[in-house]
Symmetry: C2
DNA sequence: CCTCCATATGTTATTATATAACAGTCACAC
DNA sequence: GTGTGACTGTTATATAATAACATATGGAGG
């Protein structure tokens, strides 16, 4: 529920927790958490940033887990469908979910300096967007909210973020 | 300022108004509203929907205004930079701005049935996202807000939107 | 007038992202 | 043991975007 944000923290912890949550969710819903799917989620958690499908594929290939694009895209589809990862449309990239389990509409803060991405919560059906949708008779099913700007670290560096 | 939404209206009017607004803005800011840029905006306004760069390019090519991708992308960059058009990240497509002149953060309602897109207003720095950004020390410069769902027409059709 | 410079366009080639289509594998239900 | 469905492997291709360089064009200043 916390914005988590850009603060330093123990990646090993968040990786372990997220994997455990994914395991549990798959067990409860009879989902097939196969080696490729598991490994892709691990890669995302280890990277702890938005990663392109082909970047992930490079790692899979190096490990003999699949060499062609569909392998990566299928695993990513699975992870995204089940809420273990999200696609950052703005970057054409994927990132592990940092709000395990909670049903949520993610919102992302994308630093244009260092490309770090933080996940926050949004409530698209409230506020101005919800009002506009209601006025237009539009039924919101899903929303993409991505803010681009600068993270604390990059703001602190006096010079512009390149 | 209105959500405009999915209601039928006179396209000729909105095209004329948007072109006039673009003309005026370019004149005031000494911007070069060249034939290609003008024509691309016209194409977007006539299409009155999100269009891919290559779809636009097809029209340009048919009219002898440029045959290669960079021609379309450059014109689109110009239009987006100056607020005459927006990119819909979710669709990798572009759409003419329906809120001429007003400095704004656009939010889009995308129908997954008919692919129609309506432009509304968002205030990303307010609400939950703004609060999360503030808490994280993140400075929002720009935001992408895209809601996917169903427009009134597609909801009215009892059958699922295919 | 002419040259320099900035801006815009034209073109070739390439990179990046994503999916279609079909073949093989494997576990499990019947 | 065999059919069925879910997953993976592979080839090929579609779609989106940009790098790099060549070629106008149209003033600003000498």
């Amino acid at each position: 529920m916390d914005p988590l944000g850009f603060a330093p923290h123990d990646h090993r912890d968040c990786k372990r927790e997220a994997m455990a949550a994914a395991e549990a969710h798959c067990a409860r819903h009879r989902l097939n958490f196969t080696p490729v799917r598991r490994r892709v989620l691990e890669i995302l958690l280890e990277g702890h940033r938005a990663m392109g499908a082909y970047e992930i594929l490079d790692t899979l290939r190096a490990e003999g887990l699949g060499a062609q694009p569909p392998v990566a895209y299928r695993a990513l589809d699975f992870l995204v469908s089940n809420g273990f990862a999200h696609k950052i449309e703005r970057l054409n990239a994927f990132i592990a979910c940092t709000h395990p389990a909670a049903a949520h509409t993610p919102a992302f803060l994308i630093c244009r300096g260092c490309n770090a991405v933080a996940e926050a919560q949004a409530e698209p059906t409230r506020g101005m967007l919800g009002a506009a949708a209601k006025a237009a008779g539009f039924e919101i099913e899903q929303a993409v909210v991505e803010a681009v700007g600068r993270c604390p670290r990059c703001r602190a560096e006096a010079a512009p973020c390149r």
